[in-house]
Symmetry: C2
Amino acid sequence: MKTTRREFSRLVAISAGAQLLSSIPALGEDRTIGYCIVGLGRISMQHFMPAVKMSKKARVTALVSGHREKADRMAAEYGVASRNIYNYENYDQIVKNTDIDAVYIALPNSMHAEYTIRAAKAGKHVLCEKPMATTVEDARSMIRACEGAQRKLMIAYRCQYEPAHLRAVQLIREGKLGSIQSIESAFGFPIAPNEWRLDKKLAGGGPLMDVGIYCLNASRYLTGEEPSAVKGFSSVVDKDGRFAQVEETLSWTITFPGGVLANCTCTYGSQMPGYFRVRGSKGTMIMEPAFNYDKVHLSGQLAGGEALDLSPDEPDPVQFLREAEHMVECILQNKEPKTSGQEGLRDMELMAQIYRDCEKKSA
Amino acid sequence: MKTTRREFSRLVAISAGAQLLSSIPALGEDRTIGYCIVGLGRISMQHFMPAVKMSKKARVTALVSGHREKADRMAAEYGVASRNIYNYENYDQIVKNTDIDAVYIALPNSMHAEYTIRAAKAGKHVLCEKPMATTVEDARSMIRACEGAQRKLMIAYRCQYEPAHLRAVQLIREGKLGSIQSIESAFGFPIAPNEWRLDKKLAGGGPLMDVGIYCLNASRYLTGEEPSAVKGFSSVVDKDGRFAQVEETLSWTITFPGGVLANCTCTYGSQMPGYFRVRGSKGTMIMEPAFNYDKVHLSGQLAGGEALDLSPDEPDPVQFLREAEHMVECILQNKEPKTSGQEGLRDMELMAQIYRDCEKKSA
């Protein structure tokens, strides 16, 4: 009988000082995972790639870009071999490249499905940015493709790997806030004209798909429940041409099976730093800002005024590092990612439901 | 032809230095208005009556209470003659009492209609606490009764007389926030068992009628528009007997004709200090706390980081004083109150619509 890493670690912890031994790599887990970066935009170049650089478990080993010059520049910075630079035409050639274990897809939303499915066919694991796709059907196809190829599919819900968010979930589960009744959450920013996010075909929708998804996903992981129903309204106030195809602002309410109500707003029309407030019978928890790339801030107050200690044990300035390493762990240990394709699909289905309700009349 | 005060003032302003003359009282306006306090609860004794005491334009001249001892105590404190103490049976006798110009009704919601109508029949003006009534039909009857008797009917929406709220409205109208896209607002508190507010017959509904009405009313005066549609969900999480008749929490969304969306939550289950956030293309305005009796706090930030100067020119520690004096002004100058019966009726109709939508399924 083989001893798994977890069992081995437990045995070690029981028999001796576990802390001394915790740096011993488990069998097969000492190798690094090679990421192929698909799409060299801001999130790749400013966030994901620098995070991978900090990791001892992963490396950037290949790039896919339509801009060869930019790709060459990034290749030089990350020590990527010239032969490992691909474009969107020869992307499928990654099948032959053993330097690549997984792809990180950071393309316009409408391209997520295609590049995920092509990666799966090339035998590569997939870490795909949110929103998972532009349609529920595409999301299902991505899951099928990765399952068929027995490759991991993880959606890049970075907040689910961020220590303050994990601490928030933990405190709620421990009952520190008592029974939870409601959540308020919002996220938005004023969008510049001509962004691909304003093109419905590329984006799939407006701020709901891009920033509202943070509030939606948060309301699910904070409650630990799946919504029973949603209602909402969308609108366009600024008739300046930006919102010819997608909504400018969307407000929605979710009801959860246990009775928790989540009230959320997202916009492309104004500054709306992301936040959530969780209200319980024993107190309130506030994260604001909540969905930033770099800094988040969790605070709380118990009924009666007592402040909650909400600082995570392990503050983390680089959210993307944990995300990138979770994928590594799932590949090496053959585990299902915490934010799997199913997790992404659930948000896709809910966003479709919210859009449908926005078309409906009210009482 | 008699010259009204307004005409007289204008003539004076045109012909001479108006500033020098502005302290001359207009004809008939130097007399004080006598308030009869109907219901000696917290809001009367701790807020409204002390405010009237500070006024040079109004006096507490009569009391209505079921508790004679309490009434005697308050009468002594406010110099109310013993003959001017009434109970709920002999209340209609106020018709003969020339010390009373107006009644201030601070009873459980279900009694507002009856005591307003009886006051109108007794020839008295009415300042009635919010919510105006427990049903739309009652609200309409109140308006009819006061119109028929040619008496003023004002609903005690104190925030509409509070300088920081007025400043918020003014800044929005001046375009300081650019085009407004959305409002977030919430208000709630954990309710004690056995409160009359939990009795549907007395209260008419749950937190929506009691505290949510602040968010609803604020979203209307902040936008200056009347809602086009509403959607919502209500729920009960705490099955401890308190919420057998009314909702514990209610979240709703309003869409306004100009496209502004307002997302609001109210609860009796948790601490939820009242606030609103107004989001515009040029900046955000936050009032938090917003609906307290004593202190409110208005702040704002323009896009680009510039702080908005939001301190009202005239800070006001006693919100109820302005409310009480607005009623005086309306009586003496025969003006329609800013927060008239129609204003109260609009909220009643909207709350009924919100409750109806809560019964409806979503997409």
